[in-house]
Point group: C2
Chain length 345, copies 2
DNA sequence: ATCACAACTGGGAGCGCTCCCACGCTCCTG
DNA sequence: CAGGAGCGTGGGAGCGCTCCCAGTTGTGAT
């Protein structure tokens, strides 16, 4: 036997039912008002809105999720390493963008830090079981299967960066090639003629792009890129330090270095100091990321800025669009980068 | 009339009902197994577990939340300014700690960046309407009513830092007084005798604590703190720069400065360079936070490290405890700080 | 063998919402 | 003036779970 209708929900908060009673309408009508359906007369709508205000009614998320079969939540998945290495501005910039874009929707942001491959696997299962309506993926590596797994499960996904030139999964990237070109053109424009580079891991597409930009800029200026001017790093400071020493040993006459990350530029700067070369007089230095560190290096580091907050916003918009239209246009966005000139070059 | 039971849930995923059917038991029994109730025989439990594995069953969050009247989610609320100013290591450190502590629970982390006072108000309402089981609050200011609002609504809350010495809301803080003492003792131990400090805003409890530590350390060493050795800052680089210039003008003979944040130490360092004073020979410098910037300053900055990740973990544990036991012991934890010695002192 | 009691188990009821069907009404059309 | 065609509306059914109350079975004491 059905229990008598109570005056409030289990926890004392009003339910749809009470709002309906107070407004003198049916449950369905209140639901329609809340969800912005046009099939409600103005009179009724006003009355319902009044009742909602009077009661301080707020829809119950779980009930709504259960009935409507959606969660009104999206997940932002970040490898834990990101929060250390590129903490500023990469991760927090993305986060601000995502959060800003979500601010006037009713959608929750679920943050998932992934430490291990095992957690990565577990995440796919979790995501599938109706925890989220879509997933934002940050810093995906070249061989990462997660984006495809999620996409195959029919879950909307948007990621930052690409795994390759023909990335099938919707994504938002910044113009790494163009940014590197800007940097190298700048160095050439300052009269430097033996411009070296320190690259990231060859298996990361982003690193290849920055190398491509470096080479293209040189060719555009009528110079053939020299192999011995390319140092290999892995985006860490230590690798930048080592690569810089090798470069100088190989080409003592180099007069500029474009580093594919600020952290590597910091390592390179240390190496140059050890070798008694001044920056920017002997060697001009440019980094990539425009991190907080760049601003505070001695001398302040010229760097390529990625529009992190813009990328966060763009990803989120793309994901929300995919969620609502069922993934018809699979966006691929590339946002412009910008050179921030400081005294290291 | 009830519809015939279907073979799977609406979205093709198995439901409790199917697991029960496959294991040849009732719905209630499967629920008991999933929730770890002891009132299930081993035979049955094994059979159910097998069925769960066979079907790849994962409980439906929303359904569970609705039926059990809990959300299995907690919110981490961060003022947006935090993600800029103290991005590293403060925010990401806390985040890693929280995330680590949550890793082997089934609890989701909801991240809420708060930009404006209006959003702050809105959050209270959201939190109340069964979106979360508890709230983690970061960087609360002295006059912030949000912690009390949430606590008054009966929502478990734990925050980092305190608003005052007798903070009523459960919290996890680091030993700011002790950290400042460490720093000053260290400076005195290196033979410095005219130790100045640059403080944070007087209305922030954390700033007062660091000032107290500075003064106590001096007194413990038998010296009376001098008013003209105290510079006022607001945790920003610019304020550190200005305060440093004033201090030197007031007391040209000072030989050490303890800054209540790394950012202010960076500003101070710049001022000292402009004034032609070397670090550490003329003036020894110590910061607070041990940010990434400290490591890369020239010279590398001695700084007080807060156990950010540990604080994140501690907060989370405290919150989970409060959620499960209904808030009986209202924890107040103070974690130790540590001095990281580098060449600036 | 009988009874009390514990240990398990099944399934009804219900969480608060959305979806959708059916039911008045009003207003045209022919 | 009958027959649609819409509009706006009410409310039943059901989302997948947990809770809890009745069984049902098994055990040991009498």
């Amino acid at each position: 036997m059905a229990m008598a209708r109570r005056g409030t929900g289990r926890d004392g908060r009003p339910t749809l039912e009470q709002v309906a009673a107070r407004a003198g309408v049916g449950r369905g009508t209140v639901s329609r008002v809340i969800n912005g359906s046009p099939r409600v007369s103005d009179r009724t709508r006003t009355a319902v809105e009044q009742a909602i205000a009077d009661l301080g009614y707020v829809p119950h998320r779980a009930a709504r999720a259960l009935a409507a079969n959606r969660s009104d939540a999206i997940a932002l998945v970040v490898p834990e390493a990101e929060t250390r290495l590129f903490a500023e501005p990469f991760f927090s910039g993305i986060l601000r963008g995502v959060s800003a874009e979500l601010a006037d929707t009713d959608i929750q942001l679920l943050l998932t830090l992934i430490r291990t491959p095992k957690e990565r696997t577990r995440f796919a299962q979790y995501a599938a079981s109706h925890r989220v309506d879509g997933v934002l993926l940050v810093s995906v590596h070249g061989d990462d299967p997660l984006p495809d797994q999620l996409a195959d499960m029919g879950l909307p996904v948007v990621m930052t960066g690409r795994r390759s030139a023909d990335e099938p999964v919707p994504h938002v990237d910044c113009d790494n090639v163009g940014g590197a070109q800007l940097a190298v053109e700048h160095l050439l424009g300052r009269g430097r003629s033996r411009v070296a580079t320190i690259t990231g891991p060859a298996d990361m597409y982003v690193a290849r792009c920055r190398l491509d930009g470096y080479q293209e800029a040189l060719r555009a200026a009528g110079r053939e890129p020299a192999v011995e001017l390319v140092g290999r790093g892995d985006f860490t400071e230590e690798s930048g330090h080592a690569a810089m020493r090798e470069l100088v040993a190989r080409r003592p006459d180099l007069d500029a270095v474009f580093c594919a990350s600020d952290l590597m530029a910091i390592g390179a700067r240390r190496a140059l100091r050890e070798l008694g070369r001044s920056v920017p007089d002997d060697v001009a230095l440019v980094g990539f990321d425009d991190s907080a560190l760049a601003r505070h290096l001695d001398p302040p580091l010229t760097s390529v800025r990625q529009p992190m907050e813009g990328m966060g916003r763009a990803m989120t918009r793309a994901l929300l669009a995919e969620i609502s239209d069922g993934g018809t246009d699979r966006p691929r966005l590339v946002l412009p980068t910008e050179l921030v000139r400081r005294s290291s070059s």
